[in-house]
Symmetry: C2
Subunit: 249 residues, 2 copies
Amino acid sequence: MTGALYIAGLGPGSDDLVTPEVTAVLNQATDIVGYIPYVARVTERPGLTLHPSDNRVEIDRSRHALEMASAGKNVVVVSSGDPGVFAMASAVFEAVENGPKEWRNLDIQVLPGITAMLAASARAGAPLGHDFCTINLSDNLKPWELIEKRLRLAAKADFAMAFYNPRSKSRPEGFVKTLDILKDECRDSRPVIFARNVSRPDEEIRVVPLDQTTPDMADMRTMVIVGSSQTRIIEREGSPIVYTPRSVG
Amino acid sequence: MTGALYIAGLGPGSDDLVTPEVTAVLNQATDIVGYIPYVARVTERPGLTLHPSDNRVEIDRSRHALEMASAGKNVVVVSSGDPGVFAMASAVFEAVENGPKEWRNLDIQVLPGITAMLAASARAGAPLGHDFCTINLSDNLKPWELIEKRLRLAAKADFAMAFYNPRSKSRPEGFVKTLDILKDECRDSRPVIFARNVSRPDEEIRVVPLDQTTPDMADMRTMVIVGSSQTRIIEREGSPIVYTPRSVG
């Protein structure tokens, strides 16, 4: 009996943003593995076993999923957003690389999803309409010095920037330093978007000029998008439109 | 009568990657506007008028869509991939900013989609699993010098890189220069992914070490993803898995 392992993106929160491809594999799965709140989004049914696990056990969770697929199960590892962007796909492949050789020849497929920066960008307008970079601000898995280096080079390159995991409760100082670095490098009032719980009922979108941003505007459920020097604001009734033009100059 | 304008992402090609949110607005639209091959993906039905247009008329197309929405129509501008990533959303907002004031208060919504780099990354493994940047290599709308500057800074920042529009028929020399710059900056054999027609029946994925890449490996239908210095290859039967680990060092 041959199993399969799907690493599937559930999008940012709304079921309207889950692709039919992902819905189809969820409907055929025998086992669902993932972080508790993501597994909670999967509808229970006879024949389906849910395996929710806590945060920060990504490698253990991956090994468990690979073991079940090896044993012939039809396993889906669920991620929020897109599994390939700061989510479960890299963890599963780390487990494959360091695990038994036979794991390499399992049927493993990554199914893309709407990652948070695309949903946040859509709500604000089109701030990522020109060249941009995407940075995970958490320093759990990389030194802070590397984050700072990337922020300074990204500002010099005049990329728009999308930040995942901007501000954890345990290490809030990283986002304080991030805003200080950006104010130092950019020295302007380009728009910064704070998008919290995008596509969920309690969604909040704020647009703040860089020089008026403060660290408390973000938490771990916030996606932060910083415009480039070219990013524009269209004022109107209600919230403004933020977009980066296709051409420069 | 109040119209609405949706700017909707159709994903990279397969209908399995179109979100239910996009399908719902297509089913309620009166008018569909977009580049010929994308409009061709929408099913015809009574009450729906298709307005296909040629490439490089993005602002004219946007103004036409805005005029119809102002006149009370329910208009969908269709884009490939995600409308906010090198696609129609920025063009529509440019037209809004430069158009009559009343366009600003139209009901305009951007509906995200699976952009090509996410689909390509999923097929190869997880090359974008750590910090990365996204660059449009076309120099139609920006000077080549800016592209070169961004490539060099992105290499110094050790970002993985995703390239849209790598090589046009009319200006093939840009991708020649891009590969030369990357070989000069990186001086290693990190994996480069050439993903052509992702999610379509004629999809092709090639993984080539940077020092063995040649410009003819890409055309305008190819998404190119360059790993960072940390990106790894897992060899196995069939095509290898390419992924960038979550942690550095």
